[in-house]
């Protein structure tokens, strides 16, 4: 089994705060991996180091075998959707995807149209992004992150602020992407969704990985606890 995401002794400090403390992580290819933990536990910092947007103080991070510091190469294998989708309000949805396609030297005509259809954005494709709802922005962000069909997809808080309908849509999109063989890492506080879509769940607390197991194993560890209880117990909350 190949490894899609791997970190060794990954460490990052901001002043006096040790945000990530020697994190060792290993996510196999084709897995949907839930990355959970309380606010300030180091999830986003870890993700930013995995995407090459933040340099670790110590340790290494690899995505599909590519060092995260090699951003050019990483861009080919990794799709990334931060909590706030990186979209330009002045552009239309179609233009946004066309630029993304051009940066990646894709045939923007076909690929963009396919993505608009796949993410149900065709009707809004020629409207400016600033008029999009939170759910539409998230879908456009996902379309942009997956446009180049990456082998690994990292989603940071993709369910934040979404209504139940949009949550279901995003969940289904993650499942579709995963079915195509893409490894997906999802950071979220929505433990019900995490439990339902993830093959494995990593729990991080104070910058350290305190658990890395299948959701079922975490939920039923001592007989009758759910994932929420497990997370609360393991993170001392």
């Amino acid at each position: 089994m190949t490894i899609a995401i791997e970190t060794q002794d990954l460490t990052k400090r901001f002043g006096d705060v040790l945000a990530v403390d020697g994190l060792d992580l290993s996510v196999p290819s084709g897995t949907v991996y839930g990355f959970v933990g309380p606010n300030g536990a180091g999830k986003t910092t870890t993700i930013r180091m995995l995407t090459g947007l933040l340099q670790p103080d110590r340790g290494t991070a690899r995505v599909d075998g590519v060092e995260a510091t090699r951003r050019g190469k990483l861009a080919e294998t990794l799709g990334y959707l931060p909590a706030e989708a990186p979209l330009y309000d002045e552009l239309t949805g179609r233009e946004q995807l066309q630029y993304a396609a051009q940066f990646r030297r894709l045939d923007d005509g076909d690929r963009v149209e396919q993505a608009l259809v796949q993410y149900d954005l065709l009707d809004a494709a020629d409207r400016r992004v600033e008029g999009y709802s939170t759910g539409m922005r998230r879908k456009l962000g996902l379309a942009q992150a997956t446009l180049h069909e990456p082998s690994v997809l990292i989603l940071d808080e993709p369910l934040n602020g979404l209504d139940p309908g949009a949550t279901r849509t995003v969940r289904e999109l993650v499942e579709t992407v995963s079915d195509d063989g893409t490894a997906v890492m999802v950071s979220s506080h929505d433990l019900t969704t995490i439990e339902s879509i993830c093959d494995r769940v990593g729990i991080v607390s104070e910058g350290e990985l305190v658990a890395d197991e299948r959701p079922d194993d975490l939920s039923t560890g001592d007989g009758d606890r759910d994932l929420e209880t497990a997370v609360l117990e393991l993170t001392d909350q």
Partner: protein
Amino acid sequence: MKQTIRRTVLVTRLHLHRSWRRLRDRPRLLLFQATLLVGGWVYIVLVGSQVPGLEASGEGVGDIDPTQVRELTRGTVAALWLFLAGLAASGTPTHASSVAGGSFLLRSADIRPTLWGTVLAEYARRLALFGLFAVATAVALLWGLGLPTRSPLVLLALVLLFFTAELAGMAARLGFAATGYRPSSAGRVVAGGVALVVFSFALGYPATSLSVLSQLPVANFAEAFLVRVPGVSPDRAALRVTVLASLVVVPLLGLLTERLARRTWFSGRQRETPGVDRTRMGAWLGSLGIEGPARAVAWRVWLQTRRQPITAGLVGAPLLVVGLGVVDPQGVDLPLFPLTMGLYAVWMTGFVLALNPLSSEDGTLPHLLTAEGDEIVTGYTLIAAAVGLPVAVATVVAAGLLIGPVELLPAALVVSVAVFLGAVPAGLAMGLVLPRVEAVPFDSDGPITPSKFAMAGHTVVIVTLAAPAALGVLAADELGVAPLAVVGIVATILASLGVGRVGQQIAAKRFDQLTVE
């Protein structure tokens, strides 16, 4: 390399696409800018077309000392270089998150295309905005003065001047960021104050300043403009060395900028850490016998003020104006200068500390829920007095002693303090009656300025309260009847106390009537 160039062009196109669309959202602004450009173009071409005639008549530089011409040109060019470098430094992002659309571009195009694509877009925007004007100026002047025919190095020198300044500014900013040192807010205020004093000095003594600047190596670019100017012997060797050195330095600075950007943008070292500095203000207020909600309000306003020292620093602006007056070689000859400066200090205190009591819901809401209107007003007034009154007094004293007339200093002091006591509570009332209701940027962390109507009202109150004293002093001076000044000052004191009391009551009532919806 080919891919880098392609992506750089794409980044530039993306930025310009966004700017163009944003501009088209505001057609009136577009019309205004276009009118300005066309107007400027017509003006410059008209003026420029006259230059050859002037030069042909030999009146160009004939009456001016050639040494002065040289020093002036060198100093001006060095000042232009410093200005461009400063502009570039201020606009250089020091962290990936401050790059527009950084998490998209840096993951799609990496750092080199993102950096240079963004820079190119900025140049294109400037060219579009000021370009017609700048090109018209350059063409008219270069053609009018015949500079390109005098030296082919003129255009090259212009280009190199621009690029060395831009790249040096960017590299300096990123180099400073790479050290990881973050000056405290108070440190930035002090640095800004020193810069203002230096700038004031430069304005006060332009000849000396230009002479100093003309000694800088970048001033050598000016030699290109001095070729064949009558009576002036340009230093051709220095010009050649500077141009050659710049040709080497520009790519090196480019590489350095890129390396520094690579180092700082992803380091996470520029992350802001909120200040948690402690203060003894609470204990000091307690020692004065001020307890309860009024003390809590005063303490909170003080903390908020201390943690935004740049805003609080505005209270000291009148002292800087007095400083400018001191270095002004023309001198200041205003009979009411100390009083004017004192009133300016009162205005500034109101602007910073009184006119916008509802600026921050986070800060204000707890007081509305726990304190009476009277107590809130007392808290605000105490802090305004603790911060603003010493500045007002210092401003009047400095203006009176350093500029004068010194004999009006006591009167100016009394009137300023009296107006202060009236204007601050009245300012609070004004801020509550005329709150700022316009939209402000969501991500703005700077000072939220009061409403324009409140500022106008505050100005009217101060001018009206000070008017009897000012008129009395002027009349006494004009007519030689001293009691007129006394009458005017007493009228100002009484009016100020009355307005202060009424303002205090209105503000307290308004605070009590506020409801949370």
